[in-house]
Amino acid sequence: MLRKLGWLLPAVALTVPAFAGAEEAAGVSDAMFTVNNLWILLAAALVFIMHLGFATLECGLTQSKNTVNILFKNTFIVCIGILTYAFVGFNLMYPGDFQLIPGVLGFAGFGLDAGAEGVTQAYADGAYTYWADFIFQGMFAATCCTIVSGAVAERIKLGPFLVFCTFFVAIIYTIAGSWKWGGGWLDALGFYDFAGSTLVHSVGGWAALVGAWMLGPRIGKFKNGQTHPIPGSNLPLAAIGVFLLWLGWFGFNGGSVLSADAAGVSYVFVTTSLAAAAGGVAASLTSWVKFGKPDLSMALNGILAGLVGITAGADVISINASMLVGLIAGVLVFFSVLFFDKIQIDDPVGALSVHLVCGIFGTLAVGIWGTTADGADMPLMPQIIGILAYAVFTLICSFALFSGIKAVMGLRVSAEEETDGLDFGEHGMHAYDLPKVSMSGAGEDR
């Protein structure tokens, strides 16, 4: 998703194998500009709908007494994500020439300003306007907080969580992002992350890990060294979430081509779908073999695992490798869920397994299976450096941020509130008023 802006630091050119991107063209026709820009806008709309996907997935896999809280968090995150991105985020992530510590930290000022060239082809060689750029990137930004939301669900205080998100999305995520997509030092190093296996998913995942670890598990989840599942309250909602996320991923990955280039976008659609499908099948079968019955929640997580896994290299990985990435991610997510349960880190929706673990795997996959446009293998070392750099930075920042907030406001709701549900404690509302199952005449033999 590296923006091709003339005034950026020189970037290593890594493009899709087997075809040359149309976006290289210096001047494109008006129609091409229009279709390119339209696709970025549609991709933004698709990424937007991922937020609904995250919201319903999280509601589906948690208890109904916390549903209002989860809906509120996810609604608020989108809003605050877009607003802070307009105020500071965009200009922190894409500082251009305004470097404070070159390649590490820059800031192009507060607010949005398209300038004279922002709505012309001059802005990005006819690929999109300034406004399309902003809205696409802005929709992306909020997703990394949503990842955190899932892992800390059902026990974190609302206010502190929102404060965390605001700073995380406005500053931590955007500075981290600038290192690669903003043309910073990791970009210069040859680190490759097409649409954000690391920049979005692992970054969100590391923060989620810190949050889940600092909060501790939900009451009753682990007792005497054993895991006591707390079943999700509404699996249709969870399934709706995953389908919407897959849909949105067409925009997340497809839009990261940063033009409507026929070859590039179609290829990315295919690798993305194949990885998702392979992830879903792999996680289903793994749970089937392991437990004798296939687990729907694992199948759903498997699809997401495949999607996260392919995100770093959707444009540089071959068709067969994309299925392999999905398969491995699907198996990985299964065992990762078991692993986090074993070390008693409570992650109600599997956010760590999906976004952190598969985000890392996907980033490595680029170094293992990726090939550049001219057929050369892509190097593994920059990938490892990138993964580590983001791990260290995000762990430190989110630990500091969570700790500061904890000291001032506290992080976890009281045991009584947790038992009663955050819907009542934080909002004084309840999510559902549904009738009981009717014992109707037709049911006699059921």
Partner: protein, 113 residues
């Protein structure tokens, strides 16, 4: 008068209702309950962990009848809902001092049906 309370398997509800109707009992009240007893709960899976659901869905049927009908009602119910498998449930018979039909204010046995 007696209250006959039967805890039965949910899918036997209509059989029970028909048996009561045949005995001339045309009023009953039903509650969804969860039962715990000899019948083993079942194992469920969720995200890679197993857990046991102890409480099984049952239906509680309450019917208040005249003293002399209670025996027949018990026998009729037993016959109607028995499957012979564990978990078929229990019937409890207990005394009732008075019955009132709210609509009419009638009391005692004439308020029952």
């Amino acid at each position: 008068m007696k209250k006959v309370e039967a805890i039965i398997k949910p899918f036997k509800l209509d059989d029970a209702k028909e048996a009561l109707n045949e005995l001339g009992v045309h009023g009953l009240t039903v509650t969804e309950v969860k039962g715990f007893g000899r019948q083993k709960g079942h194992t469920e899976l969720y995200r890679g962990a197993e857990y046991v659901v102890d409480f099984l869905p049952k239906v509680k049927l309450e019917v208040v009848v005249a003293d002399d009908l209670a025996g027949k009602v018990v026998d009729g119910l037993v016959e109607a809902v028995r499957t012979g498998r564990i978990g078929d449930g229990k019937i409890f018979v207990s005394p009732v001092d008075d019955v009132v039909r709210i609509r009419t204010g009638e009391r005692g046995e004439e308020a029952i049906a």
